[in-house]
Amino acid sequence: MTELVDARPVDGLAAVEAVLGDATDLGNPFGHAAIGTHDDAGRLAPGLPQALTVAGLGAALVPEAHGGRLRGLDGLVRVLRAVDRRDPAAALALGVTPFMAWANVWVAGDAGQRDAVGRLLAAGERAACAYHELDHGNDLTANALTARPDGDGWVLTGRKEVISNADFCAAAVVFARTEARPGPRSHSLFLLDAAVLGDPRARTLPRYRTAGMRGVRLTGLDLDGCPVPGDAVLGTPGRATETALRCFQLSRVVLPGATLGLLDTMLRLAVTALRGRSLYGGTALDLPATREVLAAAFLDLLVADAHVRAVARAASAAPEHLGPLASGVKALVPEILVGAVDRLGLLLGSQFFLRDGTGATVQKLVRDARPTSFGHASQVTCLVSLLPHLLRCARPDGPAPTVPAVLFDATDVGPVDVSRLRVAAPAGDLLAARAAGEPAAGWDARVAALAADVRARGLADTRVDASAAALDAAHAWTCAQAAGACLGLSDAGRTPLADPLVRAAALTRLALQARRHEAPLTRAAREHLLDLLLARVEGRLTLDLDPDPTLA
């Protein structure tokens, strides 16, 4: 089985792969073994941040217009995924977190703020994005850290907790309360620069230690009447919640999209380990049950990548529609990822549980996978945010959106115009609409039934206290979005999804997932996917849609 290696260069990808070197080389300071040792000690591999900066990671986060090299989010995801394949903690600390901070500046900042932060990040400095308070979690509008006007500036008091990079950053975005009254217009965003962060009234909290992502420095800010200049406000005062809702659209795609790199590595290690495990006169890879888990995890990776890819491209091609699409990715992709990672861990058995060689790396990946699902915004938070959109899409007289072909092809999709991001998307769902017209695996009927269900439930069941059934409907809707993405990519040719067997298997798997059901692949699909997977591993190619060369 041979596939064509995609010749389309992604800026930065090859450079990142090159500095990371051969993962299996025990002497490589950035190989699995070295990274595992440092991870155990709660740090990133020494030299890794600098090497990634040289490879252009910082520049990859920032758009061309602001001093970096970022064009479409799909390219960024591919670069971050290369880091994630090696060390998810490095990807979070050096890539995803600075990008999340940048997204706020990008969406709400003025020209000076964008240039300043853009330059810092492109040069490899770290940034922090401080929203979270332990007492309030996903409930953004309840956040308490307060900014009160003081002359030309502001004075900030309160704490931000469990924040990546907070004690080690050149800039921090802080979400603060500027009005005492409850509601969405009571918070503002502040950009703290090195001078403010160096003020003795801006202390950093001691480090939080976590089960995984141990190389990430999770600390916090403890601001005790810390003065901040007036030009540190990002965007219009009082509008931070709206800014968050817009810039989270970018991070809700980028974070899960990057994390798929972890599944790539896990799957690669599993294939190698099981092929080498003798069992019943053959190897563990001869057992149909083993083949099933591997093939299904590969399919999961392809499906999730299709979903991420289409939505990442929508950020450039149809930014007005991004909100519900990105919420769908953040709700579904981590569920697929964590499920696949857990099944692979179980399959590896003692080779997962014992902390040596493969086991050490696999354990780290299992631990590192977890925050993808609850971190940033929980699955439920994303599903709740989808409900009003669903209701709009479910109107019988709702417009049928035209789905841009560029979501699914391999052309340069162009830069993201963040000024076009909207808090509330127009009616119509670019991906679910594609699934609604598809009879295979019953998708057309399923989408119609979901719409009817949502209509019957009405507006009352679209809020934070949404019923479990409403959330189930929203979850099924995210699967419809993923199915739409798979169909679009399948029709566009080129990737494994174009193969009729893989296409059918993907649609069936998502149909099962929509009801949180599980059933094995057909034997033909399983064996076909496994052949493809083994050839990719053999050829040292990535296991997502585009087979990029990798030394992971």
């Binding site: 996903n138 001691p206 495990r277 014992l354 086991g359 059933a519």
Partner: protein
């Protein structure tokens, strides 16, 4: 709100006056006075990946080893029922402790199954009086589940003594155990008939014959002594043979039928603790202007976990009863329990972890005692050792045709009122001892408990489950070839059967008045939903 009541109900129910209760009380008292059972001490020990030596010493002094010895040999009067409860109590405290302490039961089980009277009395004495640790050497480096492929050899010398050569690894407590039961090849004949079990007593072997292998570091249960042992020309007395020569694999498989049902207690305990920790959090946490537990989604997660707990506890209860009254069915029952209980527990642990958010991910520190992150990590071993989920499922697939045929025959004889099955619960209630001699490699009677789910027209979830059971068994009968039986679709049937078994246990307890109707109905409808979530092929296509 259903979830509110559930939190308080779901603590390990230990019987008054039992060994488990007395251990639970002493552990609580020790923890309260800053002893080694205290939460900080436990967290620190785990961080240091240290074996719970202090705890073990105390447990020994408190009479813990009686749990590992059959009642008829002077062990705990409640036999395996007491043992199950002890494992549960220890594991609710810390899984590492339970795994590290209770391994002695697994190491001794082959002797309870096949040992001669003198050997049994001797091992009982060593365990209870001398607090000897026993471990179980099945696995060999580079080889996992394929027990018959081991290369450890025991030769019989003309004087009757045995000479043992080979390596067992990874083995829990291998470097601590004075006693070690070893599965070894005693004849050149390939296959099961060439294997025997030998009981190694460290006191009999010179230092050269037995080299301990270093502790392996692990993902979870980090303080446990997962190590190994290498034998080179170790000489064992003639009396070391357990059971007949050539019955090693048979003895091992029979012993596993008992140990597997006890191992499931680890999952029951993990789910109990997780439900308690997250339930307390959700009831206290303010989110979106209310308490998290009041939001419908969170309430569902908690209620489902409580229902799952009723399912796993009930299934373990009927399995323990089976070991006393219908031991010949254990090959099916204990495999269903060992595969089904950890799987269901893990599913709900994952859901609870989501609800717990960042706190469930924090290591011990000011915000969190790290307990949840630890148990979530530790629990993953349960589906791997003592026969992985896949291995247990393979064992049931092979027996599906018989299970189906016996079920059909019983059904034809009339709907089961469950009356004849109530002895399963009575045996559990009366703490009747396990019948080690009654176990068989294959169950000729299938699985009688499933007979409570024979009426598809029954109201509520019981009817749905009965329909699902008959569809499952029908598909099981259609598996003709070995290749069919290896297909994932066949494995899926067993995954369904596990849930159906647990549901049948709940239904039986409901009929016996052990579970209130509404609580049973919640558990049954969870089981029904989860069985439907594992569709048969035909349903997928539809």
């Amino acid at each position: 709100m259903t979830a509110v009541t559930a939190v308080t109900e779901m603590t390990a129910a230990t019987r008054p006056g039992s060994l488990a209760e007395s251990l639970a009380d002493r552990i609580a008292a020790d923890a309260a006075t800053g002893g080694p059972f205290g939460p900080d001490a436990t967290a620190a020990r785990d961080e240091a990946e240290r074996f719970p030596d202090d705890e073990v010493r105390l447990l020994d002094a408190w009479g813990g080893p009686a749990a590992f010895v059959p009642a008829r040999l002077g062990g705990a009067p409640g036999d395996v029922h007491d043992l199950f409860d002890v494992v549960r109590v220890l594991a609710e405290h810390d899984l590492t402790l339970a795994v590290g302490y209770c391994k002695t039961y697994l190491g001794a089980a082959p002797v309870w199954v096949a040992g001669g009277p003198e050997q049994q009395a001797q091992v009982a004495r060593l365990v209870m009086v001398e607090h000897a640790v026993a471990s179980w050497g099945l696995t060999e480096p580079g080889r996992g589940s394929d027990l018959a492929a081991g290369t450890t050899r025991a030769r019989r010398r003309p004087d009757g003594a045995w000479v043992l050569d080979g390596t067992k690894w990874p083995v829990n407590n291998a470097s601590r155990g004075r006693l070690l039961t070893v599965l070894a090849r005693t004849a050149d004949r390939p296959g099961p008939a060439g294997t025997s079990v030998l009981l190694v007593d460290g006191a009999d072997i010179g230092p050269g014959g037995r080299t301990p292998l270093p502790k392996a570091r692990t993902h979870g249960i980090r303080g446990a002594d997962i190590s190994g042992v290498r034998f080179s020309e170790a000489v064992l007395p003639a009396g070391a043979l357990v059971g007949q020569e050539g019955t090693g694999l048979r003895t091992t498989l029979l012993a596993l039928q008992f140990t597997r049902m006890v191992t499931a207690a680890l999952s029951v305990a993990a789910l109990t603790s997780a439900h308690r920790v997250v339930g307390e959090f959700a009831h206290a946490r303010e989110l979106h202007g209310t308490r998290l537990a009041r939001l419908p989604h969170a309430a569902r997660v908690l209620a489902d976990a409580a229902a799952a707990l009723d399912l796993v506890v009930s299934g373990c209860r009927t399995a323990l009863g089976t070991s006393a009254t219908r031991p010949a069915e254990l090959s099916v029952v204990s495999a269903l329990v060992k595969a089904g209980v950890p799987t269901l527990a893990q599913r709900h642990l994952t859901a609870l972890a989501q609800l717990y958010g960042a706190r469930g991910y924090l290591a011990p520190g000011p915000v969190s005692d790290g307990r949840f992150a630890r148990l979530e990590r530790d629990h993953r071993i349960v589906a791997i050792f003592d026969g992985s989920t896949a291995v247990n499922r393979a064992g049931v697939v092979a027996q599906l045709p018989v299970v189906a045929a016996r079920h059909a025959a019983r059904h034809a004889a009339g709907p089961a009122a469950g009356g004849d099955l109530l002895d399963l619960l009575a045996a559990a209630r009366d703490r009747r001892p396990a019948d080690y001699g009654g176990a068989t490699l294959l169950s000729r009677d299938g699985c009688t408990l499933l007979g409570v789910l024979t009426d598809p027209s029954a109201p509520g979830a019981a009817g749905v489950l009965a329909g699902a059971l008959s569809a499952t068994l029908e598909a099981g009968r259609a598996l003709r070839t070995v290749a069919d039986r290896q297909e994932p679709a066949a494995v899926q049937l067993v995954a369904r059967l596990e849930l159906l078994y647990l549901a049948a246990a709940v239904e039986l307890r409901r009929r016996a008045g052990e579970l209130a109707d509404d609580r049973a109905e919640r558990a049954l409808s969870l089981a029904a939903r989860q069985v439907q979530a594992l569709p048969l092929d035909a349903e997928v296509a539809a």
